[in-house]
């Protein structure tokens, strides 16, 4: 059990799907040998195949206290970057336009903006994903070498590159498939929640760069933090696939889910644009209560009242969204308690 727990809340109503977070993370952490298929932060269109492909169907996580089976994702599931046939087109005189080569069959964000049909209306939204830094991490339990540990001081789950032997039990065990194997180093890697930045008082790179300002970062146990308020006070944010049993510390404010275009003015639960079943699939049955709560807050604001929750979700400035507390974490860590 960690003394503190850093957490992130992402408001899915504000995500533009611009991938700025993805690139911020990629440039900072995975622009190295063997990491071309890794996106510690990715943004996928939902409904969709996700990244790695069909990760929500592959397996892993807990059931009745037992780790669940899973195959290893292939490089194709991650979608390796492809090259273009410049040689043929530019120098060999072939008349066709430049095309990817060889013909790609998958890639991260492969089905961007495709979504699905609800009746005759298309619907989709973006789902940004990082490691959930779970309270009960399946990856940690699966490693026979104790290479993965949860930092006592702030709850961040890290993978010791010295201890790792590349067995990949952790890759299989993670139900979110947020651990990646680097074949060049022969070791697995994962999101480190930008702990070197947090230790300096800087917020995570994915959050800092987000133009939509949809990310909230802080200690879950800090009553003054936005993440604490959104998760525990307003109860407006939920973890992804709670039934996987890992107790994620990344939470999502679900899409408000407005009514279909033809039903303007109706309650969002009367004729929702996003099928409620799909949101329940992602966030569990509690999502219905959250949507009702969000709708009530919206109605209050539209009627001239003040919604503290919506004001917080707007999160105009960094001070509202981020409460990085390196002093608090350090004081606790250096306080003679076991690390």
């Amino acid at each position: 059990m960690s003394h503190h727990q850093y957490a992130m809340v992402m408001d899915l109503n504000k995500c533009l799907g611009c991938q700025t977070c993805t690139i911020a993370c990629k440039k900072l952490w995975t622009d190295r040998d063997g990491t071309q298929h890794m996106y510690w932060n990715n943004v996928e269109t939902r409904p969709g195949i996700g990244y790695p492909r069909q990760w929500d169907q592959i397996g892993g996580g807990w059931k009745d206290g037992q780790l669940q089976p899973s195959r290893q994702p292939t490089l194709e599931d991650y979608g390796a970057p492809w090259e273009f046939d410049y040689e043929q087109r530019l120098y060999e005189g072939k008349g066709k336009p430049v095309m990817p080569s060889p013909d790609p069959v998958s890639g991260p964000n492969w089905d961007e903006d495709v979504g699905a049909l609800n009746g005759d209306e298309n619907f989709y939204f973006y789902l940004p994903r990082i490691c959930n830094h779970c309270t009960n991490p399946a990856c940690l339990a699966a490693c026979p070498r104790q290479a993965i540990y949860k930092r006592t001081e702030d709850g961040i789950v890290v993978l010791d590159q010295e201890r790792c032997e590349g067995y990949r039990y952790c890759v299989a065990a993670c139900p979110y498939k947020k651990i990646y194997f680097n074949e060049i180093t022969g070791k697995s890697e994962k999101c480190i929640f930008c702990y070197p930045r947090l230790e300096k008082g800087e917020v995570n790179a994915c959050a800092a760069q987000c133009p939509g300002r949809l990310r909230f970062v802080g200690l879950l146990d800090d009553p003054g933090s936005a993440v604490h308020k959104l998760v525990y006070v307003y109860k407006a944010a939920l973890p992804l696939f709670p039934e996987k049993g890992t107790e994620p510390n990344v939470f999502y404010v679900p899409p408000f889910n407005p009514p279909k275009r033809t039903n303007y003015g109706k309650s969002i639960l009367e004729d929702p644009r996003l099928p409620l079943d799909y949101l329940i699939y992602l966030f569990g049955p509690a999502v219905k209560d959250v949507i009702v709560r969000l709708e009530a807050e919206l109605t209050r604001a539209q009627n001239g009242g003040i919604s503290e929750l919506l004001q917080l979700l707007i999160g105009r400035d960094a001070e509202t969204r981020y409460q990085v507390r390196p002093q608090l974490v350090q004081i606790q860590a250096g306080n003679g308690r076991p690390l």
């Binding site: 037992q66 089976p69 039990y169 074949e183 022969g186």
Partner: protein, 254 residues
């Protein structure tokens, strides 16, 4: 040569013992540890080879053919989790030849493996990735390479008390010579399950895959007579790694 069936029966007991260590109580573990003495297991003959160690490092060298192979039954470790796919005993035995020459112990291991899992993997460049436009690429995330290893107690065994077969124990650390078809040879140390660590040293080893079989020669430091040795084999296509492997019991070096 001994009757293989007797060996298999003897090793079967060790295999059950290993299962008990994995799942049993402390009392069971103590009982198993007490049983792990040199009263169990076969012994291994070592030839005095006139040839130089360098020549014997070729696993196909003619010098090896004059040394009789000792067929050792392999066991398969039980599944780590109920959720893992069942692991089949696809490789029932390994043929071992041993030769002592010029203060070295040369080991030749031969085993049948219809699938050669030895993908060539680019080495991590020594120059930092930052500022280097071209990076080495991960070509697959779900493949594992064939491997083999020889293990022996790091310290001389006292009163016939041999280390736990599961990577030694805190009182009896083990040394491991580990060869991987993709990543080469590395020396390791361990003092119990999950404690394996690389020493940073390598050792001379050569391997040939021919006629659906691996032939691996390794040069070990001189190991004194009476030392127990154990062998292990990993089959990449069975996703073998870690304790998911084939293993022999301890066998005393003559």
């Amino acid at each position: 040569m001994r009757t293989p069936w007797k060996i298999i029966a003897a090793l079967g007991c060790s295999f059950l013992a290993a299962v008990f260590v994995a799942h049993g109580t402390q009392a069971q573990q103590k009982a198993v540890k007490a049983a792990a003495t040199d009263s169990v297991g076969m012994s291994l003959r070592v030839a005095a080879a006139p040839s130089r160690a360098e020549a014997l490092l070729d696993p196909m060298a003619a010098d090896w053919t004059s040394i009789p192979a000792q067929r050792v039954a392999l066991n398969r470790t039980p599944r780590l989790y109920d959720t893992e796919a069942p692991s089949e005993l696809e490789i029932p035995f390994v043929d071992v030849r041993l030769a002592r020459t010029a203060g070295k112990l040369l080991v030749q291991m031969t085993w049948r493996d219809p699938t050669q899992d030895a993908p060539e993997i680019a080495k991590l460049p020594s120059a930092p990735a930052e500022g280097r436009p071209n990076k080495e690429l991960t070509e697959a995330t779900d493949r594992f390479s064939d491997s083999a290893a020889v293990m022996y107690p790091t310290r001389p065994v006292e009163k016939g008390q041999w280390p736990s077969l599961q990577m030694g124990d805190p009182a009896n650390p083990v040394s491991i010579y580990f060869w991987n078809a993709s990543r080469g040879a590395a020396r390791m140390q361990a003092e119990g399950r999950g404690t394996t660590r690389r020493t940073g040293e390598t050792f001379p080893a050569r391997a040939v895959y021919r006629d659906q079989a691996w032939h691996v020669a390794m040069e070990l430091a001189d190991v004194p007579p009476g030392t127990p040795l154990a062998f292990a084999i990993w089959n990449g296509s069975q996703q073998d790694r870690d304790g998911r492997k084939y293993f022999t019991s301890w066998m005393k070096l003559e």
